[in-house]
Amino acid sequence: MTLFEHLPVLVVIIPLLAAPLCVLLDRPVLAWLAALLASWATFAATIGLVAQTASGETISYYLGGWAPPWGIEYRIDTLAAYVLLIVSGIAAVVMLAARTSVAKEIPADRAARFYAALMLAMAGLMGIVATGDAFNVFVFLEISSLSTYALISMGRDRRALYAAFQYLVMGTIGATFILIGIGFLYMMTGTLNMADLAARLPAVSNAATISAAFAFLTVGIGLKLALFPLHLWLPNAYAYAPSMVSVFLAATATKVAVYLMLRFVFTVFGHEFSLEQMALHYVLLPLAVVAILSASLVAVFQQDLKRMLAYSSVAQIGYILLGLALMSPEGVTAALLHVFNHALMKGALFMALAAVMWRVGSVQLTDLAGLGRYMPWTLGAFVIGALSLIGVPLTAGFVSKWYLVTAAIDAGWWWLIPVIAVGSLLAVIYVWRVVEVVWFRPPNPALVDQREAPLSLLGPTWALALANLYFGIHADLTTGTAETAVASLLGGLR
């Protein structure tokens, strides 16, 4: 079947075409329908890709029939399919809930353009993962970033504008650093295809230009994935963005940046260069540890729940980088598992907050006293997501933390275990503050007559919350995929 052969490019093209369609349709409901259909079609196409790559095959697709290294190649291996599944899956769930939430938070005359920007952001993120061309990565990165700035600025609070501006400045500096890095690589090798780069780099890896390229790429991607000292844009951006944008970004944007990091570190430069010659793990390890401890600590003192979860995201990215810094297949497997599980837990948590925002109009902790009596289902899903965040057994969060701890012991870095434990304890504290206020405080008089959130918000919230439980119990599904992905990513490290 011919359409089937074109799946690698379809997962990018469907959302990319849906974006102008949303603008043309111009009516909120029609635009939402178009975006909904596009996101589910993309999700279905991604499942096709996952099925094709499940046992470690690589699909290579020549864009326009031009063979690499002259043409642009789309390259889907198990890792790429796995990340594509996260992005399109979350987008599909977000679109289910979007209509209700957007009708409340975005003025009707801007709603169609909101969906268009959301589809563009999705197309950009899918493209970063699907492409096997270094310059193409930069283009897709900017497509997703520019639409993300626009999406964040649509938040109801005027601070959303300033948050979007700050993200624009830092994001552009990050993207330009990536552009410089790619330029240096091209300078030394004369190619932009990732597989070709990987083949040609070892011959010139002693050149200072390559080291500089590596440094620029690491810092640039670090800005995008909110690596600890470069995370300053993230809390405000997530806190003031419209609820649906927070769900989508928190669950996908940083994950795609992590993918990009893995791709450049292991596929393009190769672990011998990245880890042995440049000693990347000695840079990542302390930053990851500081991220886990400091961001969790800051989260404890937040009054705005979205901000609290945003700081918690910075800490969770610390866990992911910790797995990467362990430099072993087990560590990278743990990192990949946490990429997937963190998308599930943050998706569920932000989605529950979107439901609270829809009903109450605020996510300030002081406004939510006793809300558990009125919205037990929403906050029940929040608690499940929060348990997964802490890493309680039988939730998805436990699986990835278990792998992380095992990998740390295998690597002989036993002192990482207290770090992970303290991080989890801090998560208990900031989650407990919420539980205490919403379930055990006398109700805030302003909340009288609040009812449960509508099914269109509650359904996706519970779908994500139950996914946390499902992947916590049937962990072999995700661990199997992650191990296959890691095996193809760094076969030589074993």
């Binding site: 409340k104 938070e105 975005i106 003025p107 009707a108 310059f135 930069f138 283009v139 900017e142 520019l146 700035y149 626009a150 600025s153 109801r156 005027r158 601070r159 504008l161 300033y162 979007a164 501006f165 624009l168 400045v169 552009t172 500096i173 993207a175 330009t176 552009l179 410089i180 330029g183 091209y186 300078m187 109450v360 109009g361 605020s362 300030q364 002081t366 406004d367 805030n444 302003a446």
Partner: protein, 141 residues
Amino acid sequence: MSDLPGIYNYLIVVFLMMAGFYVVISQGNLVKKLVGLGLFQTSVFILYISMGNVIGGAAPIVAEGVTVYSSPLPHVLILTAIVVGVATTAVGLSLAVRIHEAYGTVEEDDITAQDRADDETVGTSSTKDAAANATSTEDAR
């Protein structure tokens, strides 16, 4: 000719890049920040164009008697990057306009001061504010 023409471009690139970066960091005015950001991006354009040059190469147009051409690929790449740069500046400026509408200023210090004042005065009444906003969006529809 000495080596100078070879390094000259890169010196310019480094100077422009650092100047742009410094403006982004040091200026409190959002529009000036965008100017710095534009400078920062432009320096990378020059970097790419410089690396495409081949010593003694002609413009990459097929002509009789010419055998050495400059590489056209970096030029094509940077056309894309220029478009991205223009789009970034446009989005940045439109955000600055919206910020000016919302705050009445584009100075970073004034914006943070207003935000801090909001935090102190609004406090717990944010529920009411948000609820009022919600109803007004519904009215608008």
